[in-house]
């Protein structure tokens, strides 16, 4: 038993130094950061979101560029700002690349419209990166979006001050330039890795894609 434990410790040490030194090795292991392709891509037709800065957002208005969509709520103190900060680093990386065809929109959609107005969401999203879009919808609209994405949210109980948590899908949803869901990626976001994933998705559309 001792020998097995020692071997395990040794292995962990060896393997983790490989992991620490080479992020490529992290891909494909476990679920975090891995790309789950949606094939054939799933249409978002019928989805309708409200944005203060960008007006109505529909599948039609999302066509023409790739989009990373993330669900959350602004009263989320930990996970949402963490992911949005990482996405902001990703976005500056893409901007540095400069190529017009490689630019990706980031769209933050609140599943908590009772506390998050479209105006508040535009300010919130732009705080992380001026290019980020913030939007929400009616509860029916959110349901329609979640059903298209295979996503989910649920409201937690209220505390004495009326605060409540929102359990929500924590994946990044990658929409192609036809506004179709083409991949789901579970954070953490490593900007360089995400950028490579996006390049791969952009250059190798799904077999069943309507392109």
């Amino acid at each position: 038993m001792r020998w097995r434990a020692a071997k395990a410790v040794l292995l962990v040490g060896l393997l983790s130094s490989v992991v620490a030194g080479c992020e490529d090795e992290q891909e494909g292991r476990g679920q975090k950061g891995t790309v789950n392709r949606v094939d054939p891509p799933q249409s978002l037709d019928g989805v309708q979101l409200s944005s203060h800065a960008h007006g109505e957002i529909t599948a039609d208005t999302l066509k023409g560029a790739w989009t990373i969509l993330f669900l959350g709520f602004t009263h989320c103190p930990d996970v949402c700002p963490l992911v949005l900060n990482d996405l902001a680093h990703f976005q500056s990386l893409r901007h540095q690349m400069g190529e017009v065809g490689k630019q990706v929109r980031v769209l933050f959609v609140s599943v908590d419209p009772a506390r998050d107005s479209p105006r508040k969401l535009s300010e919130y999203a732009a705080y992380f990166d001026p290019s980020f879009m913030g939007a929400t919808a009616t509860s029916e609209g959110i349901q329609a979006l979640e059903s298209a994405l295979g996503a989910y949210h649920r409201f937690g109980p209220r505390d004495g001050q009326g605060n409540y948590d929102v359990h929500h899908s924590a994946e990044l949803y990658v929409l192609n330039d036809q506004a179709q869901l083409t991949a789901r990626i579970l954070p953490p976001v490593i900007p360089e890795t995400l950028s490579r994933h996006l390049d791969a998705l952009m250059t190798a559309p799904a077999m069943g894609g309507a392109l």
Binding site: V12, A20, T74, V79, E123, G156, H167, R184
Partner: protein, 184 residues
């Protein structure tokens, strides 16, 4: 690396090991020494987006005393309420739950880091912006309270190293270096 997929548990260890090394490189509690003190390091609060009323705080706390120490209260004059919460992602769904009591075992440490355990800072009395310093008081069951001057950052990157210590009430060590409040 071949065959790792087959060993689910092993890959968990690998990721944990990787994270441990990553955090060590970040200057997290390196070796927990039995120095007879509670040591708080790497404190920061997340800058609050416009219109927000809550944010998160992070820190590492090491217990070099020979008693387990429990955090019995956290407060800040800039917030109505501070609790300890934990973010969990399960089945691709993110949720948060309140952590009743946080005990730092003797000779051990607890890390509050983005995406996991964190201070849930609720009901901000004013905006919390990058560069601010926010007072934070940690109360313990068997040590004097620690008053911390927590820096505010957007992402916690590039902060100066922060360290402050408290001694056990029952011990005969010197008074806390930083720590003004009165025991409750």
């Amino acid at each position: 690396m071949i065959g790792v997929k087959r060993y689910g548990l092993l890959s968990v260890f690998v990721v944990l090991g990787g994270l441990a090394i990553f955090f060590l490189m970040l200057g997290a509690p390196q070796i927990d020494t039995m120095d007879g003190k509670l040591t708080v390091r790497n404190v920061w609060l997340r800058a609050m987006p416009p219109g927000g009323s809550m944010t998160a705080g992070y820190l590492d706390i090491a217990n070099g005393t020979d008693h387990a120490v429990r955090i019995v209260g956290i407060s800040s004059s800039a917030f109505q309420d501070v609790q300890i919460h934990e973010s969990v992602v399960r089945e691709q769904v993110s949720s948060m739950s309140s952590v009743g009591a946080l005990v730092i075992p003797s000779g051990g440490h607890v890390s509050l880091r983005p995406g996991g355990l964190h201070l849930m800072m609720m009901g901000a009395h004013h905006g919390i912006s990058e560069g601010d310093r926010i007072p934070l008081t940690l109360s313990f069951d068997r040590a004097d309270p620690l008053v911390i001057d927590a820096p505010v950052s957007r992402d916690g990157v590039g902060l100066a190293l922060y360290e402050t210590t408290a001694s056990l009430k029952t011990g005969h060590c010197a008074l806390p270096k930083v720590g003004e409040g009165h025991p409750k």
